[in-house]
């Protein structure tokens, strides 16, 4: 499991991660950053997560939001070569994967949407209205 704190509030997680990355001994779970590669962005109304996991079907993903944490897991099937074939290069990831990211405090877990297109899983987690900045008029 790869745990990454990517929001500014997770300062300690972030420091810990940086520490880990500079550490010379590699993690037993393999080299950072793990599979699938992920991009994350925010808008005032949502958190947008993109996971680059080609060769899957939408049903093969397990996407969960629980206790402010988004977990994306699944299994990427191996490419099975025909009988008697030789594998020259085998870089394609296969097997089970799981990535976890912590979400900001203001998310609305019940309105999470996920779609899969061109090998990229897009998860959109809505943020609560209240957290969106509002201009306060001075009386």
């Amino acid at each position: 499991m790869h745990y990454r704190g990517i929001f500014p509030r997770d300062l300690f997680t972030e420091l810990e991660r940086l520490q880990r990355e500079f550490d010379s001994s590699p993690s037993i779970r393999g080299a950072a950053p793990g599979y699938p590669a992920m991009n994350v962005g925010t808008t005032p109304k949502s958190v947008e997560v993109y996971a680059f996991a080609p060769g899957m079907t939408p049903e093969e993903f397990d996407v969960q939001v629980e206790n402010g944490v988004l977990t994306i897991s699944g299994e990427c099937k191996d490419i099975v070569p025909p009988e008697g074939a030789t594998i020259h290069i085998g870089e394609h990831f296969s097997g089970r994967f799981r990535r976890v990211i912590s979400l900001p405090d203001d998310i609305e877990p019940n309105s999470t949407m996920a779609s899969y297109r061109d090998g990229v899983l897009h998860v959109c987690v809505a943020r609560r209205e209240a957290a969106q900045s509002r201009r306060i008029s001075v009386q």
């Binding site: 991009n39 962005g41 080609p54 008697g84 030789t86 990831f93 061109d118 990229v120």
Partner: protein, 130 residues
Amino acid sequence: MRKGNTMSEKFIKRENASEESAAMRPAVNVVEDATGITLYADLPGVPKEKLSIHVEGDNLILEGELEINSPPNMEAIHAEVDRSRYRRVFTLSRELDGDKVSAGFRHGVLELRIPKAEHAQPRRIVVQAT
């Protein structure tokens, strides 16, 4: 999916880098059987129309451009995929027939079949008893 800016404007950092370093190297599997080679390349985020495969002399060139619609007001806060293109070049050996390459592309995985030329197809030599 909502329409918005493409990936390249949001998550990309190194757009001005030299051509070679500005592209990501897609992970591939290459499998050879008696009649040819099958290449599988991971190109997540590339729509079919932004994929280009061409053979130039002995080189097989794979290129793809990422296109991911993100909301226009999105602020990128973490990017592991921070380049907008994939590119990888392979040298084809002489027995492969670059003119007969066939391709399929599904869910970001390209499957290329490069057959061996007629003269390179395996021939079973019968050992004569004398």
